[in-house]
């Protein structure tokens, strides 16, 4: 079929991708947006199958394509339907990995079959190979850390790590340069992929669990850039347009996450927060004699007289899978005329938007999920704030102590509400490793328990009292 017509269909698909992402700017239009994107992809695949290189390939070639799509489609659909929504960070990490490595593989395939590729094409292959491999292995490390399989949640650092990373990057670029000079040297591409793979692992192991939102967003961006680069290999506009959209998306999310922690991207990437030896405040000095423990019954009494309650979810809620129980508690409160809202910190959880997805799964109305800037001014008029499995994102030291490792990080101002209930297993510090003066504040009561059990007990106590 005529290449002009194929390119025209590609253009339509690109427009659908843009409209699809635009749909995601509001929950009302988001589902339609996602469908527009899927339609665009279908159009792009159909157009490609009409390309003479594909269509004219005969039964053998078409068989390979159909088999690949059937196999991948089956695995993808199974993953999408089976995955638990609490495991979305892992799912996104896996998708990043597959997208990245697919680009590197396509670049490799083009290199092997091309007789005399242009310099532009080879340079793009080198970029695809490096970014794709780094994305693949980096995402697998992120996946492993999120699942808690082999690597610890904490940053893994060793002396000379940055120097080693720099050397590896230079070696990978050196292999790339060799390939550009002599494109028939496919061994150089293999070497480049191997070195970039090691680099991908080493770049991700120093990133700690609570910094995963940044890592995932950044790897998301890389997978887009790898696709864009493959577009330069194939002289294909749609890959470039789509890849750069995704690249931009990931970078924006990365910047939002860094800003929400008041840390630079470099600081997050080298795992600096755990490695830093800023003065560690003595936990005993902060907590001694000041922490007040409470019971479900006592909290229920407090809630009985409240008119406005704000729930602050953190990663502990996801770990304990307490979202449905939290919703039950909120429903009970609302049935008694209490206003209930949720305060969502941008880096609560393990990926951007993690808490929103969990609570949406539990059928919480999205209008009640308030972002930090919207809800912060209202804590002064809040009777009870319930912090569930969150720590650093509600630590007032971020506002007041310039020496703190989390100084300047924007936090949820729960300490300004009349009473604060913190549901937490113990006084153990959060990811930043610092004690939280909120736990010792006059208006704070600690409910030491697993998030799910505490919320269930609380709901039961509240029912009994009513």
């Amino acid at each position: 079929m005529d290449n002009g017509l194929i390119n025209l269909i590609y253009l339509c698909a690109s427009v659908l991708f843009v409209l699809g992402i635009r749909g995601l700017t509001h929950p009302r239009t988001a589902i339609r947006g996602n469908r527009l994107g899927a339609t665009g992809m279908l159009l792009a695949v159909i157009a490609t199958s009409l390309d003479s290189q594909v269509f004219g390939a005969g039964a053998g070639g078409l068989g390979v394509i159909l088999a690949g799509i059937a196999l991948g489609g089956g695995i993808g659909a199974t993953l999408a339907l089976r995955i638990q929504l609490t495991a979305m960070p892992e799912m996104v990490a896996l998708l990043n990995a597959f997208g990245g490595v697919a680009s590197a593989l396509v670049a490799g395939a083009v290199l092997v079959e091309a007789s005399a590729p242009s310099t532009q094409s080879v340079v793009a292959m080198v970029v695809s190979g490096i970014i794709g491999s780094v994305t693949f292995w980096g995402s697998l490390v992120a996946f492993d850390k999120l699942r808690g399989l082999l690597l610890p949640d904490a940053p893994v650092t060793f002396p000379g790590q940055q120097v080693l990373n720099l050397v590896l990057a230079l070696v990978a670029l050196g292999c790339g340069a060799a390939l550009v000079i002599d494109p028939s040297m496919t061994e150089a591409y293999v070497a480049l992929v191997v070195v970039a793979s090691v680099l991908g692992v080493l770049l991700t192991i120093p990133i700690g669990g609570a910094d995963m939102p940044v890592a995932i967003a950044l790897l998301n961006s890389y997978s887009g850039l790898a696709a864009a680069s493959t577009g330069f290999v194939l002289n294909n506009n749609i890959l470039i347009i789509t890849g750069s959209l995704v690249g931009a998306s990931g970078i924006i999310l990365t910047m939002i996450m860094c800003k929400a922690m008041n840390r630079s991207l470099v600081n997050v990437l080298v795992g600096a927060i755990a490695a830093s030896d800023v003065k560690k405040t003595d936990a005993d000095k902060v907590y001694e004699g000041r922490v007040k423990q409470t019971s479900a019954e006592e909290v229920a009494m407090l809630l009985e007289t409240a008119t406005r309650v704000v729930i602050v979810p953190g990663y502990g809620l996801a770990v304990s899978q307490a979202q449905h129980q939290v919703r039950d508690l909120a429903n009970l409160l609302e049935s008694r005329g209490v206003t209930v809202e949720y305060a969502i910190h941008p880096v609560a959880g393990r990926m951007p938007g993690h808490m929103n997805v969990l609570l949406a799964e539990a059928d919480v109305d999205y209008d009640k999920l308030k972002d930090m800037d919207t809800i912060n001014p209202s804590f002064g008029q809040t009777d009870v704030s319930i912090v569930i499995g969150a720590n650093d994102i509600v630590n007032p030291d971020a506002r007041t102590d310039p020496q703190s490792p989390i100084a300047g990080m924007p936090i949820l101002d729960v300490d300004k509400s009349t009473s604060v209930i913190v549901i937490k297993r113990s006084l153990s510090p959060g990811f930043a490793g610092v004690p939280n003066p909120l736990f010792a504040a006059d208006n704070t009561l600690m409910l030491f328990d697993d998030a799910k059990k505490a919320v269930v007990d609380l709901t039961a106590a509240l029912k009994e009292s009513g």
């Binding site: 992402i21 996104v92 680009s103 002289n235 929103n356």
Partner: protein
């Protein structure tokens, strides 16, 4: 050079376009944004299709692997995004 410049033009404009749209996505939808954009970054699927019909067996195997992985990305990404988005409801 005669193909590179138009491609670079498209790349640069697309980055700016992406920047303008994506900054308008609310934090509420950041997870679906990631999984949805992941799905469209599976566009590499068309590169894999083009290479899968090569006469070179190594190229075919590489392309086949890319095809499987990119399709997982596309199908898994769009479906899981749809699943998530269908949960974002407004009562009443």
């Amino acid at each position: 050079m005669d193909t590179l410049l138009p491609l670079l033009t498209i790349f640069t404009l697309a980055v700016f376009l992406g920047w303008e749209i994506i900054t308008k996505v609310p934090p509420l939808l950041h997870t679906p944004l990631m999984s949805g954009s992941n799905a469209i970054s599976g566009i590499t699927i068309i590169g894999a299709m083009l290479s899968a019909t090569s006469s070179n067996p190594i190229a075919v195997w590489l392309a086949f692997a890319a095809l499987v992985l990119a399709t997982i990305n596309v199908v898994g990404g769009f479906m899981v995004t749809n699943r998530m988005l269908s949960m974002f409801k407004k009562k009443n």
